[in-house]
């Protein structure tokens, strides 16, 4: 246990200064024990905007999200109007009919009115009409989601695991994890399921969430056309953020992923090079490749022995799936640990040595017996050999 320390007062005070809030409140609770690591790494603490963060539901980048926002907009208008219709009369009443306690003894009670049928019927009927304004667009949107992949749609299988995401492209023969690569302006049909407990698949800017349920014949679907690129010259794609939104155990908060939208030709190149074998160039990478033999029980890299092992395991009866995420394009990934850390050597080594310190409850075995040199070799192999240019 580390000793008690003042937690990041500087950060808090900066925050409070910028927003000119009374600092004294925060200081009261500024004591905390610092026993564990931060969950996400942060190069610098920065103030993100109040609205329009990476997970915002308002931006609506796809047609589907905009449909939802349309219903939301209409409903919000109705709600605000109703709120005004309640609060203004309420405030007027409270102001108009207030009486001082000491005057009360001299006052006769007011007229004892027991009701007014006409008024009560009126405010029974008006909500009905208002509800229609919400109900009609609601029903229009509900029925927009197809049951089957529409012709021309790309199918992506989304599988939730404790606590990472698996993405399969059956038409392209690709299996990857925690990074969802999508071509721009393309219809995509997601088939969503879970390998263990219930998760929920959500990219807020693309539209609503859908639960990932475990079991057979319980796949859920989601369909939309991916957004156009905001900057048509974007190299490496444009990144959107997603996260699991159903309580799925200890590290539920640490189950993020990124959706990366590419130009069509860039996506095609990504798909084409994806399954090519890693290029092992330097000496540490070679050592790393050897050491990876103990990782392949759980992880697969296409074009290596680990892929053959996976095929073997899947052909057994009953088939055995590998427990860990597919690492074929690990070198290209921006993050590790399902979007919790940047993909740096330091973070990588920390992860392999002690995954649970980053992600409580993670099922990966801690490889804390490996020497620093071995760890750096595996890092080199995974971070450089699998980083394929596309």
């Amino acid at each position: 246990m580390k000793s008690l320390q003042l937690f990041r007062i500087a950060e808090l005070s900066q925050l409070l200064k910028n927003k000119s809030l009374p600092l004294s409140w925060g200081l009261l609770f500024a004591l905390q024990a610092s026993a564990q690591e931060k969950a996400f790494d942060e190069a610098e603490y920065r103030l993100s905007p109040l609205f329009g963060g990476p997970m915002n539901t308002i931006a609506g980048m796809t047609e589907w999200a905009r449909d939802i926002n349309h219903v939301y907009g209409v409903t919000t208008i109705v709600a605000v109007l109703v709120f005004l219709a309640v609060s203004i009369p309420l405030i007027i009443t409270l102001y108009k009919f207030r009486v001082k306690e000491e005057d009360l003894t001299n006052l006769r009670p007011p007229k004892q009115i027991h009701g007014n049928a006409l008024l009560e019927i009126t405010w029974t009927i008006i909500p009905f009409i208002l509800l229609l304004f919400i109900a009609v667009p609601t029903w229009q949107v509900i029925f927009k989601q197809p049951d089957e992949p529409p012709p021309g749609a790309m199918v992506v299988k989304v599988i939730g695991h404790q606590w990472w995401w698996e993405f399969q492209y059956p038409e392209l023969g690709i299996t990857t994890a925690n990074e969802l690569h999508l071509p721009a302006e393309t219809p995509v049909f997601f088939v969503i399921s879970s390998a263990d407990v219930i998760h929920s698949f959500w990219i807020p800017q693309f539209g609503g969430k859908v639960d990932a349920l475990p079991g057979t014949n319980v796949d859920n679907h989601l369909y939309y056309v991916t957004p156009a690129l905001r900057n048509s010259d974007a190299v490496g794609g444009e990144v959107y953020q997603g996260q699991c939104v159903e309580l799925c155990g200890l590290s539920h908060a640490l189950m993020r992923f990124e959706a990366i939208v590419h130009k069509q030709d860039e996506f095609d190149r990504w798909a084409k090079t994806f399954n090519t074998a890693p290029v092992v160039a330097s000496e540490p990478e070679k050592r790393g490749e050897m050491l990876f033999a103990q990782c392949q029980v759980c992880h697969t890299i296409s074009g290596t022995a680990s892929e053959d092992l996976e095929k073997q395991m899947l052909s057994m009866s009953p088939p055995v799936a590998k427990q860990g995420p597919n690492l074929t394009d690990f070198g290209n990934r921006r993050t590790l640990g399902a979007g919790t850390r940047k993909n740096t050597e330091e973070n990588f080594i920390r992860w392999v040595k002690d995954p649970q310190s980053i992600k409580p409850g993670a099922t990966m075995t801690p490889f804390d017996t490996l020497s620093d040199d071995e760890l750096r070799s595996i890092a080199a192999y995974l971070r450089f050999s699998t980083a394929k240019k596309f």
Binding site: N56, A79, L90, E101, K111, H114, A135, V197, S200, G215
Partner: protein, 601 residues
């Protein structure tokens, strides 16, 4: 034996079957559990005040999420409502006690033991961490191997049993024990909402009982009801849970609505506007409440038709609710409004509940729900309903009836300080949560990164939570101060309208010396004022020699029987070694039932 039990001192409280004392015990217990639930909330808000915080571990946070929700619902709001049912229902309908006084005591003891069982998880360090909804299959043996989840399952099971017994008791009391002249449509509105609440409890609790049994079987005996690997379905738990869970929402809010409907007329000196419509709308809310459960499951892939129908049914609930809100405002209109603390809480209920109701209508639309489900927007929504709504009304009720129960007013000064701290703190805590939700912050996450746009709102929210905590401390100080040196209250201390105000404060053990008889709704008011509003002499209930009135005998057996249930419910924690414990529990229950049967009531 029973007759010789003392009527004062600690033993008298353990053996009491007096509905008023049981009501007080419910209230005290609920307020103690409020301290638990509140502390849990403060710890969570402290963890979330800054991004990437490590004040709490992931496991502790998930446990606190679960226990906060469960405690606040099952161990605070429900029993505090039950405290009011207990204390007020017999007084309002002019009865000497409830229909089954000993069963009433049994309910309390079962509830207490259930609450203790749930919170015993703190002692063992195994906090149940499946959320208050305890979704399968995360909570199955495979993914939650320790006994943590069992604390939740068995605790809720036991508390549910208490509610069921109490519900049967109050239903029969209200139907059968009304005084002369009190037809159903002359009952105070609080009694009506109590009645509807009991119906909801009677019909919905068995469903959660079955669901809890199924999960207990899954975890204890290895069945696979909710295990996809064995052919079970995880979605079945959600259906069963929400068939109970949605009526449960109305179980929490209807008593609050009833209290507000009692407080507003008193402090505006006008009758409740549209009494009969208020009655029908309460019934309509209760009835529709059974047909909307799947709106909690819009993202689980119900299919468009089910979504359309459940969303339509959900929207319909807005109609009776809206009627209520406008009727409350009309009650105030033209009145003589006295802003006592009770009145302030009741008025704030209208405003806060409206906000919660409106964000509720938003979620009745599945597309909006796809975006808001399991985000902080939902957290904001239901706290506006249950905290801004139910809890504010309950505090209003405490301020309103405290003088009746104890004979002393609560301090108005401290009360108003508490009220404004609550109003300010509550809105500061939960209004920003709408924005967190719109910014995509998921519920039940123990930490978040700093670049998500959630930082500012979280700071605001946590500071608001601390403000309410101070309000809570003021409240507890108020109680102790007022009991010691508060202003003494007379019979009819607020110029009330219902029968309990004809009794002394506190009322005698036998309640009514003369059996009351009513001619109209708000009979007591009409005894005090003629049609022109001129005061006339009305007689309060006289005090008589208690020995001339029959009151039910105290009994130990309810507590013993409840203890037997606790012993039985503890058996699964000991796995195979639990069988003798279970048998011991059954034996205790049988002995208690035997003793109970042959004891003079």
């Amino acid at each position: 034996m029973a007759k010789n039990l003392p009527r004062t001192g600690i033993i008298s409280w353990l053996t009491t079957v007096d509905h008023k004392r049981i009501g007080i015990m419910y209230a005290v217990t609920a307020l103690i559990f409020l301290l638990f639930g509140g502390t849990e909330a403060m710890l969570m808000r402290t963890q979330l005040i800054i991004p990437n915080n490590n004040f709490l571990s992931a496991g502790t946070f998930n446990g606190l999420v679960t226990l906060h929700g469960t405690t606040m619902i099952f161990l605070f709001v429900m029993p505090l409502s039950a405290a009011f049912f207990n204390y007020l229902t017999p007084l309002m309908i002019g009865a000497a006690d409830v229909a089954f006084p000993r069963l009433n005591a049994l309910s309390y003891w079962i509830f207490l033991f259930g609450g203790l069982l749930l919170n015993f998880s703190f002692v063992t360090g195994l906090l149940p961490d499946g959320g208050w909804f305890n979704y399968a299959n995360l909570t199955g043996k495979q993914y939650s191997p320790s006994h943590a989840i069992d604390f939740w399952l068995l605790g809720v099971q036991v508390v549910g049993l208490a509610s069921l017994i109490a519900a049967v008791n109050f239903f029969v009391t209200i139907l059968n024990m009304r005084c002369k002249g009190m037809t159903l449509l002359k009952m105070p509105i609080f009694v009506w909402t109590t009645l509807v609440t009991q119906v909801l409890l009677i019909l919905s609790l068995p469903v959660i009982t079955v669901a809890l049994f199924m999960m207990t079987f899954d975890r204890t005996f290895g069945t696979g009801f909710f295990d996809p690997g064995a052919g079970g379905q995880v979605i079945m738990w959600q259906h069963l849970f929400w068939i109970f869970g949605h009526p449960e929402v109305y179980i929490l809010i209807l008593p609050a609505m009833g209290m507000v409907s009692e407080i507003l007329p008193t402090f505006s000196r006008k009758p409740l506007f549209g009494y009969s419509v208020m009655v029908y709308s309460s019934c309509a809310i209760g009835f529709l409440g059974f047909a909307v459960w799947a709106h909690h499951m819009f993202t689980t892939g119900l299919g468009p038709w089910a979504q359309a129908l459940f969303s339509a049914a959900t929207m319909l609930i807005a109609v009776p609710t809206g009627v209520k809100i406008f009727n409350w405002i009309s009650t105030l209109w033209g009145g003589q409004l006295r802003f006592t603390t009770a009145m302030l809480f009741a008025v704030s209920f209208i405003a806060m509940f409206t906000m919660g109701g409106l964000s509720g209508i938003m979620h009745s639309s599945p597309p909006i729900d796809y975006q808001h489900q399991d985000s902080y927007f939902v957290v904001a929504h239901f706290h506006y309903v249950l905290y801004g709504g139910a809890v504010m009304a309950l505090f209003g009720g405490i301020f309103y009836w405290f003088p009746k129960v104890t004979g002393y007013y609560l301090s108005e000064t401290l009360g108003k300080i508490q009220f404004w701290l609550y109003m300010f703190g509550f809105n500061m805590t939960f209004f920003p949560m709408h924005f967190m939700g719109l910014e995509g912050m998921p519920r039940r996450i123990f930490t978040y990164a700093s670049d998500q746009g959630w930082n500012f709102w979280n700071v605001l929210s946590s500071l608001g939570a601390y403000t309410t905590a101070i309000g809570g401390i003021v409240f507890f100080v108020n109680i102790f101060w007022s009991l010691k040196s508060g202003k003494k209250a007379s019979h009819d201390c607020w110029d009330g309208r219902t029968l309990e105000w004809t009794l002394s404060s506190p009322p005698p053990e036998y309640n009514f010396a003369i059996d009351p008889e009513v001619r109209s709704l708000d009979d007591w008011w009409h005894q005090k004022y003629d049609g022109e509003g001129n005061k006339r002499t009305a007689r309060v209930q006289p005090d008589v020699d208690p020995s001339t009135k029959h009151v039910p005998n105290p009994s130990f057996w309810p507590m013993v029987l409840a203890f037997g249930i606790l012993v039985l419910a503890s058996a699964p924690f000991f796995d195979a070694q639990g069988i003798p414990l279970a048998l011991a529990g059954v034996v205790i229950m049988l002995v208690a039932t035997y003793g109970w049967s042959f004891e003079e009531a």
